[in-house]
Subunit: 370 residues, 2 copies
Amino acid sequence: MTTRNLFLLPGDGIGPEAMAEVRKIIAYMNEEMAAGFTTDEGLVGGAAYDAHGAAISEADMAKALAADAVLFGAVGGPKWDSVAYEVRPEAGLLRLRKDLELFANLRPAICYPALANASSLKPELVEGLDILIVRELTGGVYFGEPKTITDLGNGQKRAIDTQVYDTYEIERISSVAFELARTRQNRVCSMEKRNVMKSGVLWNQVVTETHKAKFADVKLDHMLADAGGMQLVRAPKQFDVIVTDNLFGDMLSDVAAMLTGSLGMLPSASLGAPDAKTGKRKALYEPVHGSAPDIAGQGLANPIAMIASFAMCLRYSFNMVAESDRLEKAIANVLDKGIRTGDIMAEGCRKVGTTEMGDAILAEFKALSA
Amino acid sequence: MTTRNLFLLPGDGIGPEAMAEVRKIIAYMNEEMAAGFTTDEGLVGGAAYDAHGAAISEADMAKALAADAVLFGAVGGPKWDSVAYEVRPEAGLLRLRKDLELFANLRPAICYPALANASSLKPELVEGLDILIVRELTGGVYFGEPKTITDLGNGQKRAIDTQVYDTYEIERISSVAFELARTRQNRVCSMEKRNVMKSGVLWNQVVTETHKAKFADVKLDHMLADAGGMQLVRAPKQFDVIVTDNLFGDMLSDVAAMLTGSLGMLPSASLGAPDAKTGKRKALYEPVHGSAPDIAGQGLANPIAMIASFAMCLRYSFNMVAESDRLEKAIANVLDKGIRTGDIMAEGCRKVGTTEMGDAILAEFKALSA
Ligand SMILES: [Mg+2]
Ligand SMILES: [Mg+2]
């Protein structure tokens, strides 16, 4: 029997509540589908800081490196606002991304039909929206050195962050974008600031060369990143796959997510390079939302993004495409039935808590799998 | 009689057409109001490259430095897409910003009542919108050194851009934001990425200290820049003044502009420090829109952003507040009457060209000044 090793890192805030609903789905798939998932669980973020004084322990890092896939909840909260920069909750996620070499962050911006009215945009602009933002995740200004604050004396300090990109980094992220585009509408839009950044100039060159050498069948456009932000707000459906660097991807993927009106419901995947022997990619799946400390522990959290992240895990780490499709369909059906957590509550719908939402999706998943 | 020295840089594309409409208003103000404007004109962008092989000549730089205010049109176009990086059209604008030390970029995002339906957002979210984004303009990743592309051999290149901020840069831009907030709703939201950037950490500290020391009466909030992008899309009216760095300001001010549905109509101002002797700030005023080469020279361009930029010039460089108010009111009145250029045309309105739009605004301005 196949074994599939999952490492769960629920993290802080609503992370553990949301992860509990995924555990139910895993248990069902093991019992009824002989899916062969094994799970181990660790600490990350504030929870790891409280236990180990670090945002993730070395032992848990080793487990993450050994797993087929990592499911990550959320990190952070006011409790840890004043801890040292190096051990702040986000450092756990950054360490995972760096050590697992998860250079490709996949951020779908999909508008569930039942929620089109929840968008701040006019419904006709977002109904049926289906964008995939591919964000470079291990390079750029969040990691480049030097990265310092220096006291200059005379009351002045100087802060430095360094944006660095090498050819191979741009080549591999754009290759992921082109490959994914082939399974979709076959269109890629690359975004940078070549007019004011040297990294933008190189980005543009390497994407253009990679396209020409290996992906000439895909339609490629280039857009300045600030113009891209505007176009996302003006007419988001013009895009299929967007590929961009770490910082612009951070901004643009959040703007795109908010367009859908269902930010709390969006999943993400972070992928590494294929292993030379096994062909398997290191992978981490996480909801886009944060740890929402204000509602943590109250059974109010919406578990859909966490469950949808597990659906991405089924698809990208285990090639369980049919199961992934059914789980995503289960989410859409539950929303069509008017079942809502508080964050997406609307008139005429039925308000439920975290557990009820998870149970409803599991029931629908069972029905679709029968 | 007061003399007021304006240096006009119409630039490329639709810049010259839009500037011609401002010239009419200047002439009227000189004739009927003894405003005492003197004007000189130079080249910038592609036009300067064609004439001098540089994005702006040294002679024109000297005139810009000597003027009370610079009115700038737009630069760029496909004709200059392949010129060397150092002399590309945008380099002219960057040089002006740097040499005039225009560190504060003011980007109003205002929704004209007559155009609320033109936004991609639901009208109730943008009606009455009035945000001012204050963007740091001479520091950060667009200017920091090193800024290089290096050939590493083995087929690899490395691109580097450097984000640098010193205490004094953050102090002076946040002071401008706090001062402007006092003339508005008295609220400032500062945006950075302190969770992943050292410059974000310093930015947050210095804004907090500047607030405490000199502007404690202003309400101050902090937001991560990507969350800020989301909030702009979700509920833009929550903001009054937003202060942020060069790169985040580049992205966020464009997203905010697009929310208004009237991107082609938004002005901007870029201000320097007050002169120690005269108290006058160096200043440059420019429309937010680009050079629109596709419609250049056809009399189709919307001159409103250029005229609204001149209204900001009256307000900030010459303290002609009543005249500025009247000119802005003239624009709103013309829109209320249903007069539209092609870019903002709507059913039941009357479509006009650049000249007619400029004439209509001037007529309204005359009527209001009578
Ligand atoms: Mg983000
Ligand atoms: Mg911009």
